[in-house]
């Protein structure tokens, strides 16, 4: 209690400083006066009386110091003093302060920015209640429709029937919800509005989706199990973003009738702000509909198909339940379900039955499609930024060491005058912590700007749609990390020189500050420069490798033409077209667009090259046995109209393309690519042969009429050769001979219109939209971009990484050069008298410069030596993470070495030459 009271008193004593000082002086004077009086009365002469009194009293100044120490809190007072002193000193050295703060800001800003991104993409939780209780079924995300009764490695996408089986038989889940693994666009129009429908992303979800996530409606209500019954009135939930941005938070939207893909839906509520669904994606969904309305709106597959898997599952487990036990239960349930459909399973599926399993994983982050896709990019970025941070810290250390050396004399002087070593070290510490805090604060601003820049380049915003739900503001853990790093850096680099200065006998330092024999004083600095050079080499080489890889990918033979081609994206299902109306529609589109001046060719395809889509099938070549369960008989395919190959610029090598004669009533034909021919026909001529798709149970469905050159359609495995591909004719429907059913009615909803412009002609999107409006004003054009832009978009992330790494590479090279410059200049300064002697003895300028350069180059050579194995290791790491990279590309490594060497030459040449320009007499005079 007393201690507490005392502490509080001491805290507050700051306010009464001067008054207390006066009082003490008064009391001391009074005391001395009284003692002097007493001595006088005892008979001593006045001078002696006073002297005795003072002697008896004791050392006044020491007592006063003790008094002051008792009175206030010396720790805080010295801290304040040190801070003000540090500020003053830093203000007197603006160049140094600016250099350190800037360097720190750059390093900390870059690292914080990238770590923020990594943290958001890898760890961001869904905007739901208690994400820790959520579990998802399936480790790797699969999208978007899978058929059959077997999935390799694990079951991670599920049919509606299978979901219901799990939901009804797994008591361990308090709620298990299902939702569409992919997501489509809906043509949305408010009932009664005259405007054309606009495309917005939407998702089908189960009735307990929102209940499972524990989110509540911002307005109206959210979907409930009652909405998810066959025959229930069709309702939809709108996102807060769309409600606010498109409809101005109009309350009349809730309960209003909307037409989604020309079907009436009532919007019953608005999701809470910030809710972005069940996975992190660039464009979050704006509409949520019940699973059972899926057939109404019409999609690519019938969800009541027992073996069409299109749903992801996330569930909330009961409190206290064991996830492992639930996982085991669900595996049993899966096997049960498969067994119950044994009669419908193909022979392949039956063979693979024993391997079928599933996994439960934490679901707090939702379905991790984006994380899987970007993970290795982010890892590379993290490594790069860590390197940059290291280099920055080395630079700051260098600068701090220089400052410490410069103040050696002053430190020794202070110690000679009686300052405590600990106090001096504390002063240096205060200064460095202030610098690092300033650098950290500036770094935050850079981080914010940097994150926004990177987000904008990595996830370009589509007008009218929601953006990726990652905030550019640095998150709390990252902020703390940043400040932690900066403070540590400041402490480490400020304390070392101060501490070493206090160890030296003061007289030594006072005697020969400029002639320090301590060569060891520069060892840490030289080591730092070597480290910087090594790391810079790694970064430069890495950026070279990445840029080379990017260039390789971008300049590969694509197999189609990119110039003068425009792609207009449509979706006929948004305007409610039925499959039998499509052929006429495409004919009218082609006619209308061809009449636009400047257009030389028009064709329509299910998907154009590198637009991100991929339809695949199992191939069964006629005359060969049915492929076994573990055989690779995969081929991708596309459905196109007449004139497609000319429009897209793919050469036909043999046979013919798709012509008017390939109608709905003629023989089903296919055009294959060279890879398909090589794989399934080896050296034989494929034209005239037949094949089928394994799900059609027949091998004699399509007659091959032509072979095209290999063209790159898929955006995965860009460094591997093009895979087998076949093209089908638009009007021809894949009727299975045995059942008479159409295998893929949805594949007739073609999405990409390929428009070729005449050389020299220019096409505006207005012209295109007008031409399309004349065909059908209700059919919206979703997007228009050139084929070149579409292809470029596939390389967006790789380009971003290459650019970022190059930026950091150059930055670190500049920093390393500055460090080298500093060391060389310092050395030159130290050896001024030596240089003077040499020159007086007849050395030429060149010889003196060479002397200094030799020292600098020794450092760079050491750095290169250390850096080379690191570079090779980094190259191997990059090669394992990315494709198309040659890790030991000699040209890149040599270029990096030469670049670094050249910049080091410049950096060390300047101080070397300046040193040699000094006249000998001046050099000898300088001390």
């Amino acid at each position: 209690m007393r201690l507490l009271r005392r502490f509080v008193k001491r805290l507050g004593s700051w306010a009464t400083r001067s008054r207390d000082e006066e009082r003490l002086n008064a009391e001391i004077e009074e005391h001395l006066a009284q003692e002097t009086d007493r001595n006088l009365r005892a008979g001593l002469p006045p001078a002696e009386a006073r002297r005795r009194a003072v002697l008896n009293f004791g050392p006044v100044e020491a007592m006063k110091e003790d008094y002051r120490a008792q009175r206030g809190l010396p720790f805080i007072e010295t801290l304040v003093q040190d801070t003000r002193y540090a500020v003053r000193r830093l203000r007197n050295a603006p160049a140094f302060t600016a250099a350190v703060v800037l360097t720190l800001a750059l390093g900390i800003g870059a690292t914080t920015s990238i770590f923020s991104l990594v943290h958001a993409v890898l760890f961001k939780s869904l905007a739901v209640a208690n994400p820790a209780e959520l579990y998802r079924v399936g480790k790797a995300a699969r999208c978007c429709y899978w058929g059959g009764y077997s999935q390799e490695d694990e079951f991670s996408i599920f049919s509606y029937d299978l979901y219901k089986h799990f939901r009804d038989n797994t008591p361990g889940f308090a709620e298990l919800a299902a939702f569409q693994a992919g997501g489509g666009l809906f043509g949305v129009r408010r009932a009664g509005a005259a405007e054309a429908a606009q495309g917005y992303p939407g998702e089908f979800v189960s009735g307990n989706y929102f209940a499972m996530f524990g989110v509540h409606a911002y307005a109206g209500r959210l979907l409930a199990p009652g909405d998810d019954q066959p025959g229930a009135p069709p309702v939809a939930v709108m996102s807060y973003r769309l409600w606010q941005q498109r409809y101005g938070s109009d309350p009349s939207v809730v309960g209003a009738l909307f037409s989604l893909d020309n079907e009436p839906f009532t919007v019953v509520g608005i999701t809470p702000p910030g809710f972005f669904g069940d996975k992190l994606r660039s464009i979050p969904p704006d509409f949520f509909l019940s699973l059972n309305t899926e057939p109404v709106v019409g999609s690519a597959a019938d969800p009541n198909d027992v073996d069409t898997h299109w749903l992801d599952l996330i569930g909330r487990i009961r409190p206290g339940a064991d996830a492992k036990a639930i996982e085991a239960d669900m595996r049993v349930e899966l096997k049960q379900w498969l067994r119950s459909h044994w009669a419908d399973m193909s022979a392949n599926d039956r063979t693979k039955f024993p391997e079928q399993t599933l996994f439960l994983g934490p679901g707090g982050a939702g379905i991790t499609a984006m994380r899987d896709e970007y993970q290795h990019w982010l890892e590379i970025l993290m490594l790069v930024s860590s390197f940059v941070l290291l280099i920055v810290c080395a630079n700051v250390a260098n600068l701090m060491l220089v400052r410490g050396m410069e103040r050696r004399q002053q430190t020794s002087l202070s110690m000679a005058l009686g300052a405590q070593a600990s106090r001096l070290v504390r002063q240096a510490l205060t200064e460095s912590i202030m610098l690092s805090l300033a650098g950290g604060a500036a770094g935050l601003a850079i981080a914010y700007a940097g994150t926004r820049l990177i987000l904008r380049f990595a996830f370009p915003h589509v007008a009218g749609m929601g953006g990726v739900p990652i905030s550019a503001a640095p998150s709390m853990p990252v902020l703390l990390f940043t400040f932690g790093v900066s403070t540590l850096a400041g402490i480490a680099f400020g304390i070392a020189p101060a501490w070493s200065a206090t160890r030296v006998d003061p007289i030594e330092a006072l005697r020969g500050a400029s002639r320090s024999t301590a060569r060891t004083g520069t060892l840490p600095r030289r080591a730092l420069v070597v480290l910087q050079a090594a790391l810079s080499l790694v970064l430069l080489a890495a950026s070279g490798l990445l840029t080379a890889a990017l260039h390789n990918l971008e300049s590969q033979k694509f197999g189609f033409s990119q110039d003068r081609r425009t792609i207009a994206r449509i979706d006929p299902s948004l305007a409610g077209y039925q499959p039998d109306q499509l052929t006429t529609l495409y004919g009218r589109i082609r006619g209308s667009l061809s009449s636009v001046p400047g257009v030389s060719d028009v064709a329509v395809a299910q998907y154009s090259p590198l637009n991100g889509n991929n339809w695949g099938a199992g191939v069964w070549v006629d005359g060969q046995p049915l492929p076994g369960p573990h055989e690779d008989n995969w081929a991708s395919w596309d459905r196109v109209t007449v004139g497609y190959f000319d429009a897209i610029g793919t050469r036909i090598i043999e046979g013919r393309g798709i012509t008017e004669q390939d109608r709905a009533d003629s023989q089903l034909i296919a055009v294959i690519n060279q890879a398909f021919a090589r794989k399934y026909f080896k050296q034989a001529d494929p034209v005239g042969k037949y094949f089928g798709r394994t799900e059609m149970q027949s091998s004699r469905v399509y007659r091959i009429v032509g072979v095209t050159e290999d063209a790159r359609y898929l955006e995965s495995a860009l460094d591997k050769p093009v895979g087998p591909f076949f093209f089908l004719s638009e009007p021809q429907h894949d009727i299975v001979p045995s059942t008479g059913k159409d295998t893929d009615p949805g594949s007739h909803f073609l999405q990409d219109i390929v428009i070729v412009t005449r050389p020299g002609a220019r096409l505006t999107s207005d012209q295109l939209r007008r031409a399309m409006a004349s065909v059908d004003p209700n059919l919206p054009i979703i997007s228009i971009q050139t084929l070149a832009e579409q292809v470029d978009g596939q390389f967006r992330q790789q380009r971003l990484i290459a650019q970022l790494t190059s930026f950091f590479g150059i930055l670190s090279m500049v920093l390393a050069s500055i460090g080298l410059y500093g060391v060389t200049a310092y050395n030159a300064g130290r050896r001024t008298s030596e240089i003077g002697v040499r020159m007086a003895l007849g050395a030429t300028r060149a010889q003196v410069s060479a002397l200094l350069l030799r020292g600098a180059f020794a450092l760079v050579a050491a750095g290169l030596l250390v850096g080379l194995p690191l570079t090779l290791a980094a190259g191997r790491f990059l090669g394992s993470q990315l494709y198309g990279l040659n890790p030991y590309d000699p040209a890149v490594i040599v270029a990096a070495v030469v670049t670094l060497g050249f910049s080091s030459l410049i950096a060390s040449l300047i101080p070397a030459i300046r040193a040699s320009l000094v006249s000998p007499s001046e050099a000898l005079r300088a001390e």
Binding site: R2, R5, E30, E35, D37, N56, F57, G58, P59, R71
Partner: protein, 101 residues
């Protein structure tokens, strides 16, 4: 010692306390008088004594210290502790070899 002095003699100024302590200890304690003031400050911060300006014997301004209620309690506590300590030590000195057999 300061507290006891103030307890016995009532409010005193700093010099007076120093002199009395010298006297009571029979001039056996030759401590620098100046060291008294930090101690007085500490006691005052703890609340055991309070101070105010007053007039000294020769009508000069001096700072007088007096014991507070809390200080009295502290004095009693410390006296008690000291006596206990002294008693224990005494028992050790009084013990003879035979008593421990």
């Amino acid at each position: 010692m300061v507290l006891k002095t103030l307890d016995v003699l009532g409010p005193l100024h700093g010099y007076g306390i120093a002199r009395r302590i010298e006297q009571i200890s029979g001039d056996l304690l030759a401590v620098n008088q100046g060291t008294l003031y930090p101690v007085l400050l500490k006691l005052e911060q703890e609340g055991s004594i309070a101070s105010e300006w007053g007039a000294s014997e020769n009508n000069r301004k001096a700072r007088f210290y007096r014991l507070t209620r809390a200080g009295r309690r502290q004095l009693q506590a410390e006296t008690h502790d000291w006596e206990q300590t002294a008693a224990i030590i005494e028992r050790f000195f009084a013990v003879k070899a035979e008593d421990l057999k």
